[in-house]
Structures are given as structure tokens and as C-alpha cells.
């Protein structure tokens, strides 16, 4: 334990580590602490029927977020696997949380009006300002923006105490639940695909259909493969890791001048697929029920035509910017 703290101390006092990295690490520490708060709150919550599993999930996430940098990759991997198992075995639940009383929020809206948009927009403006004006980066800017928003909210309304934020946070993160780990998990899957050479194998097969080096054909296949795979999988985030490695890089990205723009636009090409698939149930099927619509595909029917236009626009845009 002592050696571990020494390692942190050495890292913090190392002048070669940038201020940006140190502040980002501080931000991860705060994220770990608030996630740890959620873990203990659930552990002590007798109304949560799955309180032990819930505790295991959030506490492992908290440890990896806060101290991941100072833990060996192997131990981190084991912790993440435990986190995933708690989720897979459906042992993560939601405890007692206090929702917002609509009468109260209406009263506050009457009192503050559009002033509430100031703390609301503070985070985005702060991210932008930090990214453009400092060397600290957008993520540190988001952290600072949250701090700023908290201060403004506390000055606006004396009812907003530190516990108010923590309780509302517990409620909000409980709604997301185990899916909180999904983006990092998908990124790691991409890393494992790359390491195992999955991309090379896909590229070999696709290469039999499209000639390597023909960027025009490659770009169109890349831009169409994203929505197609998203329609099948229902999730553009899952599609981008596979398609970028297997098609995007070998047939397009390594030949163009602006691979970052193409790589990014591929994701939003995938979003056009999300608009057209019942597999993306959260966006396209759940609203049908929420709005009590008669047609199960009522939402998709109002999305597929614009989706095609947006996809065509993006393909043309990719050819211009490549």
C-alpha cells in the first residue's frame, strides 16, 4: 500500500507529466469518488434487493476510474471482468431514490425562468473554451464547467446543497446503470480486435470484392457498410469498431489525406442506419409505446427518408474533405 502511494507521489511530482494529465487524473479521481459514493449508498440501502451486486459493480468502476493509472493492467482487467460479471448476472439494481417533485421544479422555473440555461450551457462553453484557449484539453474543461455549474446552482438556490447534487447524481447514474461501462468496454473490444488481427482477416475478404487502392470504391463501401451493420446490430458504436478496423483503415484511411475526418463521418453515416432500424429499440420502438402510436414502425417511417438524404450528403462531403 505504501509503495503504491509512493508511486502516485512520484508521478504527481514528475515535472515531465503535463499539468493537463495531472488535472485529468484529478478529474478521474473525483469521478471515482462520486461513483464510490453511489456504491456505498446502495450497499447501505436495504430497499435495493440487489444491493451487494450493485455495490460490487460501482465500487470496481470507482477504483478503476480513480486509481486505474496506478494499478497494473492485469489487475485492472480482473476488476473490469468482475464489474462485467455483476452486470451480466443481473446483480446490479437501483435503490431508493427521490425523484423531483413536479410542483417544485415548476416553482423553480417560475422563479428562475431562462436563467437556468446559464448553468446548463456552462459545461459546453467551458469545454470549448478550454479546448481552444488552453493546453488543458476539453475533458478538463468539462470538469471545470461542472464545477462552475454547481457553484452557479448553489448561488441561485439555497436548496441546492452538496447532498442535493449527490442524491440527484445517484438517481441519474442509476438510470444508466451497467451501461455506464459500455463505451470503454467497446473501445477495449476494438483494441482486442486490432491486436488479434481481425481487421486483416476482414480486409482480406473484402479485398476480393473491392480492389485495394481504389479509394473511390473503398470510401463508398465504408460509408454504406456503417449504416448497414448498424441496421443489423442496432448500435453504431459497436459497428464503428469493427468496420473501421476491417474496411475503413485498409481500404480508405491509409490512403487519404484526412483520415480523422473520414473516420468521424463514418460514425454519423452509421447514425443514418440507427434511424432506420427496429434494433435500436431505445430510439425507435420504445417511443412508439411511450406515445401510444398504432404503427410499430411509426417512428422509423418518419425517419428513413431524411436518413437517406443525410447519408448521401455525408458521402459527398467525405469525397470533398478526404
Amino acid at each position: 500500500m505504501a509503495g503504491w502511494f509512493n508511486a502516485i507521489g512520484t508521478w504527481l511530482s514528475n515535472p515531465e507529466v503535463t499539468l493537463s494529465s495531472k488535472l485529468l487524473e484529478l478529474l478521474f479521481l473525483v469521478m471515482g469518488l462520486v461513483t464510490g459514493y453511489v456504491a456505498f449508498k446502495n450497499l447501505l440501502d436495504k430497499e435495493n434487493p440487489k444491493r451487494y451486486g450493485t455495490f460490487v459493480f460501482w465500487i470496481t468502476l470507482a477504483v478503476v476510474l480513480a486509481f486505474g493509472r496506478f494499478i497494473s493492467p492485469m489487475v485492472n482487467g480482473v476488476l473490469i471482468l468482475i464489474m462485467a460479471l455483476a452486470a451480466i448476472l443481473r446483480q446490479v439494481g437501483v435503490g431508493k431514490t427521490e425523484g423531483v417533485d413536479p410542483a417544485y421544479s415548476q416553482k423553480m422555473s417560475d422563479r428562475f425562468g431562462y436563467t437556468i440555461f446559464i448553468p446548463t450551457l456552462a459545461i459546453g462553453f467551458s469545454a470549448l473554451a478550454f479546448a481552444l484557449l488552453t493546453k488543458l484539453g476539453a475533458l478538463v474543461g468539462i470538469g471545470f464547467g461542472v464545477l462552475l455549474a454547481i457553484i452557479i446552482l448553489m448561488l441561485m438556490n439555497r436548496d441546492n446543497k452538496p447532498t442535493t447534487f449527490l442524491n440527484d447524481f445517484t438517481r441519474m447514474i442509476g438510470l444508466i446503470g451497467p451501461l455506464s461501462m459500455l463505451p470503454m468496454l467497446l473501445a477495449s473490444l476494438g483494441a482486442i480486435f486490432t491486436k488479434a488481427g481481425v481487421g486483416d482477416v476482414i480486409a482480406e475478404y473484402v479485398g476480393k470484392v473491392i480492389p485495394e487502392g481504389n479509394v473511390t470504391v473503398g470510401l463508398i463501401v465504408f460509408a454504406l457498410a456503417m449504416p448497414l451493420f448498424t441496421i443489423i446490430m442496432g448500435n453504431a458504436f459497436a459497428a464503428i469498431t469493427v468496420i473501421t478496423v476491417g474496411i475503413g483503415f485498409p481500404f480508405v484511411l491509409q490512403y487519404v489525406n484526412n483520415p480523422t475526418a473520414i473516420g468521424m463521418l463514418a460514425l454519423t453515416c452509421g447514425y443514418c442506419g440507427t434511424l432506420c432500424t427496429p434494433m435500436a429499440a431505445n430510439f425507435n420502438i420504445v417511443p412508439v409505446a411511450l406515445l401510444e402510436m398504432k404503427d410499430r414502425f411509426g417512428v422509423i417511417k418518419k425517419q428513413w427518408i431524411p436518413a437517406i438524404f443525410i447519408l448521401i450528403f455525408q458521402i459527398i462531403y467525405m469525397f470533398i474533405i478526404k
Binding site: F117, L153, F193, G263, A266, T268
Partner: protein
């Protein structure tokens, strides 16, 4: 060929609507085993990649204020803002919502989704716009208003949120590209999407306005001009 087993698991798993985390973990283990990485190597790659991508968990810190903003009347104030277009057509109400939502999406702010905003605010305002002209909304028109309400919600959120610097989509693209040896800048990744977000919002608004006008003419006639042809199917 056998290396693609993990990809197959991902595609089939999502298509069969299995648990997302289960699918990804299964694909990782299988790919590591058939790809020569081994279980230990998988744990190490998982550990270092997950830690390197902790930036994607940045949404956790923003949740510290999301709930409290709602507590302090964010949703009600947003409703007040779009109610400024009261008395317009249903299409105009939905379009106003689309504009407001895409702007706020660029700041990573939502208003509660279909359950929290479209159903309680946008839908009644859209129906109210039809009624204010003296018509009882036809069921097909009501269905269309609902569909466009949810559609504008999705389109503006997808293409607006990528403008937020440090959004999870761009972070995922950044990490995927980094694995392939391509460095990228978050501000640039957001900037690239600006034309797409503008185009997507405008297309959706035009589509909504055309569709809404078609329903207005089809079911309520184009006002005094042709009251007899009101029942006609052509629009």
C-alpha cells in the same frame, strides 16, 4: 477465418438482442483465445485499454448537475421557450423543438427524451396548434405528429450531440483511430460534423413541414379555397 468468430458473436448477439455487456465480453474472450492472445493477454489488453479510455466516462461527471438542473426547472423553462411558437402549425412546433434541441444537444443537454418532453410538451402543443385553427385532429395526422415528434428528437440528438467536444462518439472514434496509429483532435472531430448537423436539422424540418402541410390539406381542406374537395385523397 476463425478470427472472425468474435465479430460474428457481436453481430448475432446484438441482432438477437442479448445483453450488450455479455456479447462484448464473450466476443473479447473468444477473439483472444482464437487470435492467439490468450486469456491473460486479454485481461491485460482490457485493463490497459479501459483505463486509457476513461475519458469516455466523462459523462459521469456531467451527471452531477443533470438531475439538479431538472430539479431547478430546466424542463419547464425549455417548454416555456418553445411555447413562444404557439398558434403556429404542428409542423412549426416540431421544427422549433428541433432547432432548440440540436443547439442544446451540442452542449450535451437533453430535456428528458420522448417520455420527459415530447409526450408531455411537444405533442400537446402540436395538437393544440391544429385545434386552434378550429379542426379536430384526424387520427392519421395525430399519428404523424407523434412520429415526427420522436423523429425530430432522434435526428437532432444524434447529429447535435457529436458537436459536443468530448462526446462519447468522438472519443470512441479517437480511440479506434489511435489503435490504428492515427492521432486526432477532439475539437477537429466536432468541427467536421457541423455541416452534417446543420444539414440534418434542415432536412428534418423541411420534411416535417411538407408532411404536415400535406396532412392539413388532406384532412381539413385548404381553408375556404376548396371546401368541397376536402375529402379528396390527392394533396
Amino acid at each position: 477465418m476463425i478470427k472472425l468468430l468474435g465479430v460474428l458473436i457481436v453481430i448475432l448477439g446484438f441482432a438477437l438482442k442479448l445483453d450488450s455487456i455479455l456479447i462484448i465480453v464473450a466476443a473479447m474472450v473468444v477473439t483472444a483465445l482464437v487470435g492467439g492472445i490468450g486469456f491473460g493477454g486479454m485481461l491485460e489488453t482490457l485493463g490497459s485499454s479501459f483505463v486509457a479510455n476513461r475519458g469516455m466516462a466523462i459523462f459521469i461527471i456531467t451527471l452531477l448537475v443533470t438531475g439538479t438542473l431538472e430539479r431547478n426547472g430546466l424542463r419547464e423553462s425549455a417548454a416555456k421557450l418553445i411555447s413562444k411558437v404557439k398558434g403556429a402549425s404542428a409542423g412549426a412546433v416540431i421544427s422549433a423543438y428541433a432547432v432548440m434541441r440540436v443547439i442544446f444537444a451540442a452542449f450535451n443537454v437533453g430535456f428528458g427524451g420522448v417520455a420527459g418532453f415530447v409526450r408531455p410538451v411537444v405533442l400537446p402543443m402540436g395538437l393544440g396548434a391544429v385545434k386552434s385553427k378550429g379542426f379536430e385532429p384526424h387520427e392519421d395526422h395525430v399519428e404523424a405528429i407523434k412520429g415526427h415528434g420522436a423523429g425530430s428528437e432522434n435526428v437532432t440528438w444524434f447529429f447535435g450531440q457529436v458537436l459536443f467536444i468530448g462526446g462519447s462518439g468522438a472519443l470512441l472514434v479517437q480511440s479506434t483511430l489511435k489503435n490504428l496509429g492515427i492521432e486526432s483532435d477532439l475539437v477537429y472531430l466536432s468541427r467536421v460534423e457541423i455541416p452534417v448537423a446543420i444539414f440534418a436539422t434542415i432536412v428534418y424540418i423541411i420534411y416535417t413541414m411538407i408532411s404536415d402541410r400535406k396532412y392539413m390539406q388532406q384532412y381539413y381542406g385548404s381553408k375556404p379555397a376548396a371546401p368541397v374537395a376536402a375529402e379528396g385523397k390527392e394533396a
